[in-house]
C-alpha cells in the first residue's frame, strides 16, 4: 500500500506529550475547580498522609495535586513553546489555514461536514475539515489563555500581595472559563477522533505517522491535490 507521511515526528511526539500533560492537568486541577472532586485528592492524600503521619488526607492530597499541576503546567508551557518555535518556521505549510476564505467557504465547509458525518457521503476536505481547523484554533487560544493565567496564579501564590483580590479572582475565573471551554472542545475532539472514518488518521497520529494515498485521495481531496501540486506524492511513490 502506497503511503504518505501525514504527521511530522515532532507533531506526533508533542501530541502524545500534550495528551499526557492535559490528562494530568485536568485530574490535578479538578479538586480546586470544584469540591465535588475532592475525592480525587483523598485517594492520593490518604496513603501519603499515612506515610507522612500527618493525619490530613485532604490537605496532603491537595498539596500533591497542586505541585503536580504546577509541574505539568510548566512542562506543557515549555513543550508548547518549543513546538510553536519549530512550527513557526513552517507556518505556510501548516494545514490549519482555510483552503478558501469568506462566508461562502464557511457555508461550503459546513455542507461538506454534513455530507461526511451525517449523510455518510464522500466530502471535499483538505488534510483537516473546517470543524477540525476551528477546534485547533480554539484549542491554541484556550491553551495559551490557560498557560498565561496559570503562570499568573502561580506567581500570585508565591507572592500573596502581588495581585489584588479582585484581580486574582478575575484571573482565576478566566483560568476556569478557559478550562471549561477547552474541556468541551477536547471531548468533541476525542469523540470525532474515535469515529471509524477517522481511524486511518488516528493510527497515523499514534502509530505509523503515515496514511495511505488511497485514503488521502478519497477523504482529503484538497490535501491530495496540494500534495500532487507540490510533487510530494510522486516523490513518495518513487521512494517506495
Amino acid at each position: 500500500m502506497k503511503t504518505i507521511k501525514a504527521y511530522h515526528p515532532l507533531i506526533m511526539t508533542t501530541h502524545k506529550f500534550i495528551l499526557i500533560q492535559t490528562i494530568t492537568l485536568i485530574i490535578t486541577g479538578l479538586p480546586f475547580f470544584s469540591k465535588t472532586f475532592s475525592f480525587l485528592a483523598y485517594y492520593v492524600g490518604y496513603p501519603a498522609s499515612i506515610v507522612l503521619k500527618n493525619n490530613e488526607a485532604l490537605v496532603t492530597g491537595l498539596m500533591i495535586f497542586r505541585t503536580l499541576h504546577w509541574v505539568s503546567g510548566f512542562l506543557l508551557a515549555i513543550t508548547s513553546l518549543i513546538f510553536a518555535i519549530v512550527m513557526l518556521r513552517r507556518l505556510k505549510e501548516l494545514s490549519i489555514w482555510p483552503e478558501k476564505w469568506g462566508v461562502e467557504a464557511i457555508i461550503d465547509g459546513i455542507k461538506q461536514m454534513k455530507l461526511h458525518y451525517i449523510e455518510n457521503k464522500p466530502a471535499k476536505f483538505g488534510k483537516y475539515n473546517m470543524g477540525q481547523k476551528a477546534s485547533a484554533w480554539a484549542m491554541y487560544f484556550f491553551v495559551t489563555a490557560l498557560i498565561i493565567t496559570g503562570f499568573i496564579l502561580v506567581y500570585k501564590s508565591a507572592n500573596a500581595g502581588a495581585l489584588s483580590l479582585r484581580d486574582a479572582e478575575f484571573i482565576g475565573t478566566l483560568h476556569s472559563f478557559s478550562f471549561i471551554m477547552l474541556g468541551i472542545i477536547l471531548i468533541i475532539h476525542v469523540i470525532f477522533a474515535l469515529l471509524p472514518s477517522n481511524l486511518p488518521a488516528f493510527k497515523a497520529m499514534f502509530q505509523t505517522g503515515e496514511m495511505s494515498i488511497d485514503h488521502v485521495k478519497e477523504h482529503h481531496i484538497y490535501w491530495y491535490e496540494r500534495l500532487k501540486k507540490q510533487k510530494i506524492i510522486k516523490d513518495e511513490i518513487e521512494e517506495k
Binding site: K35, V59, R66, S157, E169
Partner: protein, 191 residues
Amino acid sequence: MKKLRKSFLFDQDFCIGCKACEVACQTYHKQEPEINWRKVDEYEVTENKKLKSVFLTHSCNHCENPICAEVCPAEAYTVREDGIVELDRDKCIGCGYCAQNCEYDAITIVGKESKAQKCNMCTERLDIGELPACVRACPMGVLSIIETNLADRAGMEKEVVGFEANSYVPSTRFYPKFVTGMKRKEFSIKI
C-alpha cells in the same frame, strides 16, 4: 445544652474612630504590621444638611452560611456550635478562594506564610470567659458580644452605614439609630 449563636454588636452613633479595637486585635494576635483582622473605616454622611463622619469597625461577620467554608477546597473552615467561623491555618493551602469570595474583605492572605487569616472572635478568650481583645479595648464601649437571637428580639439592626447584609447571613448586629435611654448592659451576653 446547645450553645447560642454569638454576634458582634456595634453602636455606630457613638464610635469615635479611635481604632483602639484595630490596634488591640493586631497586638493581641501578634500580627504583622500590614495585617488587620479588624479595620475601622470612615464614611461621610449628610445629616440635617451638614456633613458628618461616621465610623464602621468591621472584621469577620461569622456568617450563618459562610461562603469561605463553602469554597475552601481544603475544608479548613468550621462553624462552631456558637456560630463562630473558625479557620484551621494548618489546613490552609493558601489558594485564596475564601478571601476572593468574602464580600466583606474579612480574610487576608497577605503575610509571611501566604495563608488565609481572619478574626476568630478571640475564641480562646471567650472559652475561658473573657471578652475579645477588640471589645475590651474600646474606650467608648460601642463594641460588644451578644447572642444573635437576643439582638434580633431587641430590634437590633442588620445593616448600617457602610455595611449591607448579604445572603450568607452575617451575624454582626448594630444598634438602631437615635435610640436613647437603652440600658446596653441588658443586651450584653453573660459569659
